[in-house]
Amino acid sequence: MDRISFDVSKGQIVGFLGPNGAGKSTTLRMLTCYLSPTGGTATINGFNIFHQSEQVRSNMGYLPESVPLYLEMRVEEYLDFRGRLRKMDRESRRKRIDYVIERCWLTTVRRRPIGHLSKGYRQRVGLADSLLHNPAVLVLDEPTVGLDPTQIRETRKLIKDLGGDHTLLLSTHILPEVEAVCDRAIIIAGGKIVAQGTPDELRASRRLNSRVLVECRGPAKEVEAALSRVSGVSRTEIISDNGDPYATIALRAKDGADVREEAARTIIGRGWPLREVRLEHATLEEFFVQVTANQAMGKSEGKTEGKTE
């Protein structure tokens, strides 16, 4: 990790977004006191991760990426063990276990050994554990990985519901997930924060990075020339020109303008049979690449500053 810095305010759901190997898990592990940073510090709920590690951990629920659980234990038994570890008394253990089991849809499996459960159920057991002591801060490392679509929807709903009472920090490499549940997103790549903002801002910048694909029957070169004259188009590129009668041209528009209708009109006006006009959003990887590139261009001053530091 390379000198990252961010704040999360109370009750917010913050998404930590980045490609694999970006340093998401490492950051979360440092915040949860599993790893110690070699420099810098963090304060969670007013407690310092170095000097008040135990208080930090008492006030935090953490779901590690791999969802490690003791497979020989039963769901109920495991939650009871975790409650004892957290020094909850018998009465509050009983109450909270009933609550989290219901909350995480585990009622039907509460007496089953964890080893017999599917990945989706194990994920919920991990989530139930992180909620058990009603922590102020919840840290979830890729909470929806390996779940089926229904479970993903349910889990996202649960996360959204939890947002008001708890402060949530969750990591993911799925952009729509952040857009669906988070109040704010922090995008990291290569151990650095490359962008942050609300999902709306992200969506807007993603639109900036989208392109329109136009496919029609016609000579590729001429089609490209015609399309490049469409107002609002900043850049054109021939995608396929392998001798067949169809041409596919990619258009990039200025300032996120929608050029689809104009492009279609142009093609039809020239008499080329139009097959497809499609808006293609940047994939997360492209988005990262572009965001990183933009940063490098726009903030070259900041970068040199960082180097001399």
Binding site: C33, S36, E54, R57, L69, E72, R84, L85, G126
Partner: protein, 238 residues
């Protein structure tokens, strides 16, 4: 250390889910029953000296089987991450694991009390000598368990942990005992060998309680627990 009981409890109960623990227990009881044969003969003195001797031999191989998974499994399955992100510290974990495993050790040895009962039915037993022998076994068990726990903390492979701790126990227990019987041994090495686990344990099995021996076992156990805590602490910087 206030969180150790929860960990000890979990560790102890996990043995009862594990087939390997039952196998180890069956092996131990079967083998010690055979060695009891020597003691349990008409005309033989009603004491358990030879079974106590043999038990240590068996424990050199049985305890590593019981302790191999204590930490290595946490590493291998990643449960160490959820464990250490709960508000516990390294000594809670080490003490809890130790107590849980040591608890199972006492469960393992407890049925051999039956031998003492059988002896007392058929002869005049020296109850205090037998109690002394058990004190020795308990102390040896504690030391062996802490050595096993230490080895288990060094690797994520249970097999490596078991082999390493069995080897370490063999070298510190059986080897010195064996060489100290050799006439050709130099004076220095004889002193070293006499300081080792088996010699000290033999006093207990003869019914001699020497404070020095008790201190030795407790201190050695503490040293290995301390080393394990240090191994766990080093993880943060990995």
């Amino acid at each position: 250390m206030t969180r150790s009981p929860a960990i000890a409890r979990r560790e102890l109960s996990s043995y009862f889910y594990s087939p390997i623990a039952y196998v180890a227990m069956a092996l131990f009881l079967l083998a010690s029953a055979f060695t009891f044969w020597d003691d349990f003969q008409p005309g033989a003195p009603a004491e358990m000296r030879s079974i106590f001797q043999w038990m240590v031999w068996l424990l050199v191989f049985i305890v590593p089987i019981l302790s191999m998974g204590l930490m290595s499994q946490e590493w291998a399955t990643g449960t160490i991450e959820s464990l250490m992100t709960a508000p516990v510290n390294e000594s809670d974990v080490v003490l809890g694991k130790f107590l849980g495993s040591f608890g199972f050790f006492t469960v393992l040895v407890a049925p051999t009390l039956l031998f003492a009962v059988m002896l007392s039915l058929f002869g005049q037993t020296d109850k205090s000598a037998i109690a002394c022998g058990y004190l020795g076994i308990i102390l040896v068990g504690a030391l062996f368990t802490s050595i096993g726990l230490f080895c288990s903390s060094l690797t994520r492979s249970q097999v490596v942990a078991a082999v390493a701790s069995a080897a370490l126990l063999f070298v510190t227990t059986i080897v010195p005992w064996w060489v100290s019987g050799k006439a050709t041994l130099g004076a220095f090495w004889r002193v070293v060998a006499d300081q080792c686990i088996m010699r000290r344990y033999e006093d207990f099995s003869k019914g001699i309680i020497d404070t020095g021996n008790i201190v030795f076992f407790i201190a050695a156990t503490a040293v290995f627990l301390f080393l394990t805590v240090k191994v766990l602490e080093s993880r943060r910087w990995a």
